[in-house]
């Protein structure tokens, strides 16, 4: 453990907001360093918030396409994404989960359909290991995406090139 403590929890909402932008920049496709291309779709439910505690203002958007219009309006008011239902696709595999930015937490994570792996997967241990591998893949993907965001945010061109692009995206609807 490091003795250095930081309160960087604001990075959670910044990350999820950036991820929304990133998914639309290339029509759903996002490149994850060390993993490759994945597809991420913000689907059905998105919660945006500005401020904390009793001073917070929250907007919840539900429905297949509702998030685009109302969510974008909330972004224009300075709100950031606090939680969202995401669909992650890698090759034939598809995960769906609610992601909570403040705690970097998965909720109601639906795993890809299991492959028919023969007799081994019929055992309890085989079934657990198979599911654990799929859970771990989802966690590693979100971790890599977070560090990819952090890396981009720390580069010299963040303010001069990336931020203006995000701003244009927010204002484009």
């Amino acid at each position: 453990m490091s003795d250095q403590t930081t309160d960087n929890s604001f990075l959670g909402r910044e990350f999820l907001t950036w991820l929304w932008y990133k998914t639309e920049e290339r029509g759903g496709g996002v490149f994850v360093p060390g993993i490759g291309d994945v597809e991420i779709v913000f689907t059905r439910r998105i919660v945006l918030e500005a401020g904390e505690g009793e001073y917070s203002e929250t907007v919840q958007c539900q429905g297949l396409h509702a998030n685009l219009k109302e969510g974008r309006a909330a972004l224009r008011e300075g709100k950031k994404v606090k939680e969202a239902r995401l669909r992650l696709s890698k090759g034939e595999f598809q995960w769906e989960f609610t992601f909570k930015a403040d705690e970097f937490r998965f909720q109601s994570l639906r795993l890809p359909q299991m492959m028919a792996l023969g007799e081994e997967s019929d055992s309890l241990e085989g079934r657990i290991l198979e599911r654990v591998a799929l859970v771990q893949e989802a966690m590693e993907t979100m971790d890599s995406l977070f560090y990819s965001f952090l890396d981009e945010r720390s580069k010299p061109d963040w303010r001069s090139e990336q931020l203006p692009k995000i701003k244009r995206w927010i204002e484009s609807y």
Binding site: N8, E14, E125, V132, V135, M139, Y147, D151, R153
Partner: protein, 200 residues
């Protein structure tokens, strides 16, 4: 959470501390020592402990059933008796009335009410059945992380304390922005970061 089936909601932790040696042997002993035991006394409110992942009645862990490849898998079972507030209130009122009638008084002291409430609580507790809750645990031994299917603050705290008491290891909630959780290459990017507005 459904480590075995269904959708999963979970909290991620890093497992921190000095691991026992020989690891698997000591951990096996500790799991059994802190296995779930039924509520013994009628007035006990809660019982906690480890049970097998696939069977809440199994706290024997025969054939080291908690071992699954490189992982430890088991469940945290919490049996709790809950007395509805309205029921307790009614019982205390009844006892108050009875005492007033018996002693022919119009008022009874605060101290007496407090004693009546405690007696009513104990009496109801002994007649209430405990309701079990189960939370799955998956512990990656080599990578020192753990996922726990409890998400409410109350059950997380309960689990963290029980885990520490049992294994003498600390559970630190995983947040990728904590320097302790981050890979070395990201540490410099986490120093002195300031919140960013995406609009001017």
């Amino acid at each position: 959470m459904g480590l075995l089936t269904g959708a999963l909601s979970f909290t991620r932790y890093n497992v921190v501390g000095h691991e026992p040696d020989p690891f698997w042997e000591v951990i096996g002993e500790k799991i059994r020592a802190f296995a779930f035991r039924e509520i013994e006394s009628g007035t006990d409110e809660v019982a906690r402990g480890w049970v097998a992942l696939h069977n809440m009645l199994d706290s024997e862990f025969s054939y080291a059933s908690y071992s699954c490849g490189d992982y430890l898998t088991f469940s945290f079972r919490v049996d709790r008796k809950n007395i509805p507030g309205a029921l307790l209130k009614k019982r205390v009122m009844e006892e108050e009335q009875r005492l007033k009638n018996e002693t022919n008084r119009k008022r009874i002291s605060r101290q007496e009410i407090s004693e009546l409430r405690e007696r009513a609580r104990i009496s109801l507790m002994s007649r209430t059945l405990a309701v079990p809750s189960l939370f799955d645990v998956l512990w990656s031994v080599s990578q020192k992380w753990l996922i726990f299917s409890g998400v409410s603050a109350k059950v997380r705290t309960e689990f963290e304390e029980y885990f520490k008491q049992c294994f003498e290891l600390e559970l630190i909630p995983y947040r990728p922005w904590e320097i302790a959780s981050a890979p070395q290459s990201a540490v410099k990017n986490l120093m002195n970061v300031e919140p960013q507005q995406f609009l001017d």
